[in-house]
């Protein structure tokens, strides 16, 4: 029995994981979500931006991370459009271009935001930190046109936006270490206020920057997305997925506990 438990077929574990995902998807459950301090800070910061203010929303992620980061982007855009804050979307990650464009279109259909007045999507430029530095001097030196090819000089909301001095906040949604590049080059050199939304695996990496104030707020993974949806009072995919993730976490914790009990019993017998 013990040997069987210790060498359980991995396919059984796979089936258990699949069930832990599928069942709560079919029968949704709702659990109370408490808001963490870093998420609350970002929400509060955006709330202090006056109507007519501008934020930059950077889609530094690809399809592999969309489950965690798309709900964050959606929630932030909804908050901004509701408060009449303008959004400049862009990406330093080639694959983020179509994703950012598609997501903005989805949110625009829900909120009725107007292209060129409430938001603009600039698209992608290669060069990472050089793009960050370049926009600090002059955005048009990097992006002379938006994603649809319209010159920035003809876009109403860009008339008074030259560089980071006219941007109230930059929110980097990242699946890698690009947030650190934004902090190093845009925050340190141009004093641009930065917040981040990151995938679960890099949350711990961001905490030193939160403590120093180089990040004004942080949305940590899908849990943070659900927290943000609670704050804007618009539960969506983040809330659904964190509830599903609860069951998967419980399953993994259960497996680890069972594995350790079996391990200790076996070790005691061997002794």
């Amino acid at each position: 029995m013990l040997e069987k438990l210790m060498s359980i077929d991995r396919r059984i574990i796979f089936i258990l994981v699949a069930l832990a995902v599928i069942l709560p998807t079919l029968i949704p459950v709702s659990m109370p979500i408490s808001v963490s301090e870093p998420t609350q800070k970002l929400y509060d910061y955006i709330e202090t931006i006056p109507a007519g203010g501008t934020i930059m929303l950077v889609f530094d992620y690809g399809p592999a991370s969309l489950a965690e980061l798309n709900p964050m982007a959606r929630a932030i855009m909804k908050q901004c459009f509701a408060k009449d804050i303008r959004v400049i979307g862009l990406t330093l990650y080639a694959v983020g271009t179509t994703m950012g464009s598609t997501l903005i279109q989805e949110v625009v259909e829900e909120t009725g935001a107007v292209d060129g007045e409430d938001y603009v999507f600039l698209g992608f430029r290669p060069g990472l930190e050089l793009v960050i530095l370049g926009m600090g001097t002059d955005i048009t030196s990097i992006f002379d046109r938006d994603y649809n090819g319209k010159p920035l000089s003809e876009i109403p909301m860009m008339q008074n936006v030259t560089n980071y001095d006219q941007v109230d906040l930059l929110v980097d949604l990242s699946a890698g270490s690009l947030t650190e590049a934004w902090i190093t080059y845009a925050n340190v050199q141009f004093n641009l206020q930065i917040a981040a939304g990151v995938t679960g695996v890099i949350i711990s990496q961001m905490y030193p920057y939160l403590q120093t104030g180089q990040l004004v707020g942080l949305i940590p993974g899908i849990a943070g997305a659900a927290e943000y949806e609670r704050l804007i009072e618009a539960p969506a995919k983040g809330t659904l997925w964190i509830n599903i993730e609860s069951f998967v976490h419980l399953l993994i914790i259960g497996l680890v506990v069972i594995g350790n009990i079996a391990f200790f019993i076996q070790r005691r017998r061997e002794e």
């Binding site: 995902v21 659990m31 408490s34 399809p63 179509t98 290669p126 060069g127 994603y147 711990s204 964190i242």
Partner: protein, 216 residues
């Protein structure tokens, strides 16, 4: 000459770019801006080179009939389709967007989703409290995992409702992230930064030459 020219270029541009960072004079800043423009022009060439390298690798696989060589044709079909639509019409074209949203996105997301299955299996097999350090890691991981999902607080607030601490699971997780994690991370960041500085100096001075590849 094949090695000397890149070494000289690396040295000159490395030094110049460092100085332009610290000299706020307009001449220095315009030089910095000019070089940035060059970089933006040079960068796409790297994409061309990487595409050529990818094509060469898969041509070799087909020629040598290595394992799963037939899948290399899929690479060519994928590249060809995206180039044929993307280059003349741009990524805004509805066919390009459709292919991206309905082929690349699901495939990429699926590959990443598989991790959940492997992590669960690996955690069951390998996450054992064999030593004190492993036990600490195990307990910390369990607290963070439980504190990261709403069920953690739900269980705590239900089972330990008589205790004065509400939402203690997420509170413990937050404490772990704010204190032990933050301290360790700061040490790691400092170490990495010092490593990057020393490696950059080695490259600029031509001591580290591995980026030049092999040959003379």
């Amino acid at each position: 000459m094949r090695r000397q020219v890149p070494l000289i270029l690396c040295f000159v541009f490395g030094i110049v770019m460092i100085f332009t960072q610290f000299i706020p004079h307009s001449l220095s800043q315009s030089l910095h801006q000019e070089v940035r423009q060059w970089y933006l022009i040079i960068f796409p060439f790297a994409l061309v080179f990487s595409s050529i390298a990818l094509i060469r690798t898969h041509v070799m696989r087909i020629r040598r009939r290595t394992e799963h060589w037939r899948y290399s044709f899929l690479i060519f079909i994928g590249i060809l389709m995206m180039v044929v639509i993307g280059v003349p019409f741009g990524p805004q074209h509805h066919v390009f967007e459709w292919l991206f949203n309905n082929v690349q996105v699901p495939m990429d997301a699926t590959m990443f989703s598989l991790l959940a299955f492997f992590i669960a299996s690996a955690a069951y097999r390998a996450f054992r409290a064999r030593t004190l350090e492993a036990s600490l890691l195990l307990v910390t991981a369990l607290i963070v995992m439980l504190g990261n999902v709403p069920v953690g607080d739900l269980v705590w607030n239900t089972v330990f409702a008589w205790l004065p601490w509400e939402n203690a699971t997420s509170g413990m997780k937050q404490w772990i992230l704010d204190n032990p994690n933050l301290s360790a991370r700061r040490g790691i960041i400092l170490g990495i930064s010092l490593g990057v500085i020393s490696q950059s100096i080695r490259i600029i001075l031509g001591i580290e030459r591995s980026y030049l590849g092999g040959g003379d």
